[in-house]
């Protein structure tokens, strides 16, 4: 039996990688990947705790998270395609007009 804190360490590391990736990358596709990474890090801790506590709640939650993430990616990719069609570039640093 693998101790629970191993899973939590792995989850924290994955989340940190995702967060840093989100902050430093310019390509929105990679940013999406980073977001997925963070979501899955959270999913991992859900499952770990579910196992530890002997409750199925966490696993049910994971299913919801995955469903929402899939939907989010679909919308997000569609937006990226639309932005690319409009501006022939998807560099997030150039997408800064939504401000004062």
């Amino acid at each position: 039996m693998v101790p629970t804190h191993y899973f939590l360490f792995l989850s924290a590391v994955l989340f940190a990688i995702g967060a840093v990736g989100f902050l430093i990358r310019r390509n929105p596709i990679v940013i999406f990947l980073s977001i997925e990474l963070m979501l899955n890090a959270v999913n991992l801790s859900f499952v770990a705790f579910s196992n530890l506590l002997g409750s199925l709640d966490g696993q049910v939650f994971v299913l919801f998270v995955m469903a929402v993430a899939a939907a989010e990616v679909a919308v997000g990719l569609a937006i990226i395609v639309a932005v690319f069609r409009a501006r022939t570039s998807i560099d997030v640093d150039e997408m800064n007009v939504l401000k004062w």
């Binding site: 967060a19 430093i24 940013i31 800064n96």
Partner: protein, 642 residues
């Protein structure tokens, strides 16, 4: 039959609604029928109520009808209730009767006016408000009527609102009346705090016990009430609005500013006679103000050149008489004069309206003269009115004026000096009325040629009102023939129960009463009236050059009186200009500086803060993400370290 009492004010209100809502769209004929019809019906209802009141025994002549509860609020309860006693019966008869005649007259006088429907709507509204005032069974409802007539007065003075002088006169009337209303309101609050009710009946029952005779409270309340009365009834010091009110249409001057509304103050004092009898100081103030106003206004009337202004000052002066009567405790005599005055002053105003109509709008008596032959019926009725107001024996004014003067002389609250004032004012009255009559109807014509061509007698609707009022001015006084002349003074014995119902002053029995004295005074007042008429005849017909020489000799006095003793100017310097200065100062400093400044500061602050904070929103997704991460870490750190 007393349950139809509510119809009396309701009918004119209905007329107001109809004329106010559709008066513009329907033909003038319908407007006139509705307006006159409702007032005529109200008059009929008033007659029915009066007949039923007479059928009751003397002690029972007090009927109330509560329509509904208006303001129930804890201990404070006000009903909309009507009250019919001899006093209000006389008032509703005068208001609806004279009101009806003036409505009919207006059909002829206003026939070519633009705002015909509006005019009659206001007139109906006025009748409604006036009837509410006199029929109310509590102070608050009376105040509603009081303000209502004030509003209608304002609206009708400014009827020709595109004429600046008319608009200003309306505003002046309204503002001056507000000063009086303020006193009335304060008195009402004092009364409520003292008696816990505003119903006349309960207040007057309690008053003799709750108020000490001559006490400070009774004096304060009555003086405040009288302040209200001076505003509405144009007495010193608040009379200045009435002469200006002549800017309104002439029938309005007749109805509101002569016959009915301006007598509301007299009615109110008579209605609150219990309180006034308990405050001898206030009663003395009422008498003195009345006497002073009578002589003061009459003296101004001597030299005015505008036909309506002469009559306006005459009204102020006659109202002074009524207050003099009330002030010496002769409330019935005051109300008697109120009634006869309503007849002959309405007649004189309508007569002057007929003259103005005949002369295509001319109001300056220096440009009239010698028109008696052209307008015979107007002349005849005007003569009747002038004789009646002068106190010519046998006409209405003679009986009522003599009654007041006699009571002033013999009552324990009166004095010889007050009588002298009254008698002198009577001399002035006779003089200025006949000066007016001679200048307008007799002598050589000074009418401009243009107007002379159009000179014509007025239409039948106008003449009808004149004739009826003339008949009333002749015979109206015979309801109150004093005992000394072989009469029974029916009017006084009818009214007296209303004034002795709650409280009788011990000393109110007439102090000195000798027949020879009464005869002497009677003859004296007749002699005074005849002397005034004679003087006017000498000065303005026989030796028409005398007035010019007199004015040339005494330019100082003449100008002083011609300019109305400069009272308007003094008030202007004392109140209007400082008031305006204060307003301007407050506007510039307080309103613009502090109030506006505060509001603008709040707005400005929010804008500036927004300007500063908007820089945070850069548009870079990763900065937002970083902020979220940082915040999450902070929250996390907070929980960890706690």
């Amino acid at each position: 039959m007393f349950n139809i009492l509510w119809l009396i004010p309701a009918l004119p209100f209905f007329g107001f609604l109809v004329n106010g809502l559709v008066g513009k769209k329907v033909p003038k004929g319908i407007v006139s029928w509705v307006a006159c019809g409702v007032v005529g019906l109200a008059f009929a209802a008033a007659l029915l109520a009066f007949k039923d009141l007479l059928a009751l025994s003397v002690e029972e002549r007090f009927v109330t009808q509560t329509l509904f509860t208006w303001i129930p609020s804890g201990d404070f309860l006000v009903n909309v209730g009507l009250q019919l006693d001899p006093l209000s019966a006389v008032m509703i008869l005068v208001v609806t009767g004279v009101g009806f005649l003036i409505h009919v007259y207006s059909i002829g006088y206003m026939h070519s006016e633009e705002g015909y429907g509006r005019y009659f709507a206001y007139l109906n509204l006025f009748t409604f408000a006036m009837l509410t005032l006199v029929l109310a069974d509590n102070f608050l409802l009376m105040f509603v009527g009081w303000e209502g007539v004030g509003l209608c007065s304002y609206l009708l003075i400014g009827f020709w609102y595109d004429k600046p002088s008319a608009a200003n006169a309306g505003r002046k009337a309204f503002v001056v009346n507000r000063i009086g209303d303020f006193g009335f309101l304060l008195a009402m609050m004092l009364i409520f705090s003292l008696f816990g009710t505003l119903r006349f009946d309960s207040i007057f029952h309690q008053a003799p016990l709750a108020l000490t005779f001559g006490g400070g409270m009774a004096t304060t309340i009555t003086l405040l009430l009288f302040l209200g009365a001076t505003g509405k009834s144009a007495q010193i010091p608040l009379y200045i609005w009435l002469p200006d009110a002549m800017e309104g249409p002439t029938p309005v001057s007749a109805l509101i500013h002569a016959a009915t509304m301006v007598t509301a103050g007299v009615y109110m004092v008579a209605r609150c006679h219990v309180l006034f009898l308990l405050a001898p100081v206030s009663l003395a103030v009422v008498a003195v103000i009345g006497a002073l106003t009578a002589i003061f206004a009459a003296s101004i009337g001597l030299v005015q050149n505008d036909i309506k202004r002469v009559l306006a000052y005459s009204t102020v002066s006659q109202l002074g008489y009524m207050f003099l009567g009330c002030g010496v405790g002769a409330f019935a005599a005051g109300i008697f004069h109120l009634m006869t005055h309503a007849f002959f002053k309405a007649l004189l105003f309508l007569g002057s309206g007929s003259v103005i109509h005949a002369l295509s709008g001319e109001q300056d008596i220096r440009k009239m003269g010698g028109i008696a032959k052209k307008v015979p019926l107007t002349y005849a009725t005007f003569l009747v009115g002038a004789l009646a107001i002068s106190g010519f024996p046998g006409l209405a004014g003679f009986f009522s004026k003599d009654e007041i003067l006699w009571k002033t002389f013999c009552s324990s609250q009166g004095s010889n000096l007050l009588w002298l004032f009254g008698a002198l004012a009577a001399l002035f009255t006779a003089f200025y009325m006949f000066r007016l009559l001679f200048l307008v109807f007799h002598g050589k014509s000074r009418v401009e040629h243009e107007r002379e061509l159009h000179l014509h007698e007025s239409p039948p609707t106008m003449l009808f009102a004149l004739v009826v009022l003339a008949i009333l001015s002749i015979f109206g006084g015979y309801v109150g023939v004093p005992k000394i002349l072989g009469g029974h003074n029916l009017f006084e014995s009818f009214l007296e129960p209303a004034f002795t119902r709650y409280f009788v002053l011990e000393s109110a029995t007439e102090g000195l009463h000798s027949l020879s004295l009464e005869w002497t005074l009677l003859l004296a007042s007749v002699a005074i009236a005849l002397l005034g008429i004679f003087l006017a005849w000498v000065l303005y017909l026989k030796r028409a050059q005398i007035p010019a020489t007199l004015t040339a000799r005494l330019p100082g006095i003449y100008n002083l009186i011609l300019n109305k003793y400069y009272v308007d100017e003094v008030y202007g310097a004392l109140f209007v200009i400082p008031g305006r200065k204060l307003s301007e100062f407050l506007y510039a400093r307080f309103d613009l500086g502090i109030v506006d400044g505060l509001v603008n500061f709040v707005g400005e602050f929010v804008v500036r803060a927004g300007e500063g904070l908007k820089r945070i929103q850069t548009g870079y997704v990763r900065q937002y993400g970083f902020a979220i991460l940082l915040s999450a870490l902070c929250v996390l750190g907070y929980f960890l370290l706690k």
